[in-house]
Symmetry: C2
DNA sequence: AACCATGATGGAATCGTTTCCATGGAATCG
DNA sequence: CGATTCCATGGAAACGATTCCATCATGGTT
């Protein structure tokens, strides 16, 4: 009863053929119909399942893919993960999961673990930058980023003031054709203002970069990505708020929202009121603190756009705590459409991005890699107007 | 630059020792301090990382653990997964993830995948019953159930009426001592009323069970589990609602809520109004339909307890759609404390269960297995009173 | 009729690790 | 001082698959 699983050798003996033949039959090689049939029958009868262990060792790679997300408690990443799993399941591939907590160090550790497991395909919502992902790339991993691109380390020149006007990413048609990644990630995240700390290693490591450093900075990683069209989403939201009469619109961002804040800056136009652009770390506490601080320091703001659903949650909570009515006192647009957005009262107006699709497409890309050089994908966002925005009074 | 990873053989040669010695040094065997030091130095210098592939093949088992949950879009399972990942990370073990969609067939498929990968430790929120998990057990897997126990197939006798009175699970002290599992899962899920279908294989397979079938039915699986104290949680909620004057209290359940509905029946007492006990499948649509149907068919009910947060969400939505005010027209208690429970207005009164802890403990159990026969764990629940319950008018 | 091409087949090497076993030297004990 | 023990050590055999390569049979061509 407790017999161990049948091996290919067992099948070969039982079928009276060599192991090579069995292997060929099972993996679609050439074999005479007679033998094929017999082998198949014996294999079925013995309930033989090829061990992934032997195969993986021989081909020096584990099948399947790794999936690295910041936090599964965030509904959006849950959706994304479901998408990845759906694709992986239909391909019959296993998925190794890791949660980084938006911490580059944990992320690096998880990458190390995947390397050890010889998992050479990874889908990641990256937290670290080139420091973290360079080694993975060099180790030959096939990587697809989802939902974000790695934050680029801030240039060493005056990180406090990144004048968005000097970024010529106007309508970026040709740059997109040449280098889709860089065009999409036009403006680096203004590290100076964020509290997203913990990237202690970056300063020290880059010292060894040498002459190529400038170029590496400009285009650190050449990795395909599946992203939502943040720029259009944010722009649509800002225009919508503008149309309602709002002029002092704040942005509440978190780690990984670099492209969104850039889009926000672009959408609101030249003189950006920097006090209205606030960042939190990944935690719910930090999000709440940031939201609360924002409302208190700038009671004159009339609308807020949040870069993710955890921030949106925090904004609702903070507003309630400070007796700000939504949308009467403050209008709110949240990034991410999550089921509970409709439960709030008023229901939250959101910028919906297709989390599940993002995951699915990313998984497709990472599986197809090798067949065809995967190119980045940008999926549309949609402004879903519910009840959390009103005219400015 | 593109050199492949160093193997143990490379280290052995570079250090001038045999591979066996390297292996011993690296896995804590005996070695002279001199050699140990040298090997360690060489290994570090070569950036050697033992390949899990070779090790796994040799020991005929993959490290790490599988994790099977119904749906990562459900915040509670997100919390649970985070707990598992936290424990796995601290043990340096990989986690292979699968999402079952509450479908026994998909679950069985995923188990097959894990078997193929030689992942012999699994944490699961089970959807299928003994049909699904028996094979896994027989294959020698170490299994720990989390959050639920497998549904037992309904006895072949009149599945429509399961008189709860004939279940003697009164206060179950001694039964718990003998068989914690069965005591906890006193009353089978009333399959007749649910729409959780899809267990097509069960009828066919069990035909081969033979004489032992009756016994197998009574105690199908001997697997440790980490559960929340559903019984106390539900009882507390029902008593709380009773104290507010509610008499017609409904229960809205989903797949896997067998123990909760049993506790509900027990808590409301002998003549259970069966129309007030309604089940949905796992999907949000089905949950909404069930909630809406319940409110419409029984407008006289004054309170609802939902067996999970997706059902709670559905109840809020359905109530709003039908112009039922919470808590004025209907009081609501939701199982699961999720961040957005506080966002609703009024904020939802919930039965909190420690999702993260459940996952963490389950992972601990599954890792410790072999050392010590793991026993089941029951974690406390807590009624968190917010604003969704009011006195009956 | 001899020869060559083709296709099916099995033996054996290989992947990177752990672990069994034999060997040799040093140390301890009688 | 001899014998016994003990420990460090390296060679080699697994683990279960894939895949290269040689072999053999067959059928068609010259």
């Amino acid at each position: 009863m407790e017999s161990r699983r049948a091996t290919i050798k067992d099948v070969a003996e039982a079928a009276g053929v060599g192991v090579a033949t069995v292997s060929r039959v099972l993996s679609g090689g050439s074999a005479s119909p007679r033998t094929r049939e017999r082998v198949l029958a014996v294999a079925a009868q013995l309930d033989y399942r090829p061990s992934a262990l032997g195969r993986n060792l021989r081909q020096r790679r584990t099948g399947g893919m790794g999936l690295l997300v910041p936090d599964l408690t965030d509904t959006f990443y849950g959706q994304l993960a479901e998408g990845v799993l759906a694709c992986a399941r239909s391909a019959g591939e296993p998925v190794v999961l890791g949660s980084t907590g938006d911490d580059p160090e944990q992320e690096a550790e998880l990458i190390g673990m995947l390397l050890e497991q010889s998992v050479d395909r990874v889908i990641a919502v990256p937290s670290g930058g080139a420091d973290t992902w360079g080694p993975a790339l060099k180790a030959g991993m096939t990587i697809v980023f989802a939902d974000r691109l790695p934050a680029e380390p801030a240039p060493d020149t005056s990180p406090a003031r990144n004048d968005p006007a000097d970024d010529p990413t106007g309508d970026m048609p040709e740059r997109a054709a040449v280098a889709d990644l860089m065009a999409l990630d036009g403006v680096p995240l203004p590290e100076g203002r964020t509290g997203s700390g913990g990237r202690t290693a970056s300063g020290g490591r880059t010292a060894s970069g040498g002459a190529r450093e400038g170029a590496a900075r400009t285009r650190p990683l050449d990795v395909p990505a599946v992203l939502a069209d943040d720029r259009t989403g944010i722009r649509t939201a800002v225009r919508y708020l503008r149309g309602l009469g709002h002029r002092r619109i704040a942005f509440l961002g978190g780690p990984g929202h670099g492209r969104r804040v850039a889009a926000f800056r672009e959408a609101v136009g030249a003189p950006v009121d920097e006090e209205l652009v606030v960042f939190a770390t990944g935690s719910r506490d930090s999000a709440y603190a940031a939201a609360s601080g924002l409302f208190q320091s700038r009671p004159d703001l009339t609308a807020v756009v949040t870069g993710g659903n955890v921030l949106g949650e925090a904004a609702v909570l903070a507003a309630r705590e400070l007796d700000l009515r939504v949308p009467r006192d403050v209008s709110l647009v949240m990034y991410d459409d999550v089921p509970w957005a409709e439960l709030c009262s008023p229901p939250l107006t959101v910028i919906a991005q297709p989390g599940r699709d993002i995951g699915y497409r990313a998984a497709e890309l990472v599986l197809r890699a090798g067949t065809r050089r995967p190119r980045s994908v940008v999926l549309p966002t949609e402004l879903i107007v519910r009840g959390s925005c009103g005219p400015r009074y």
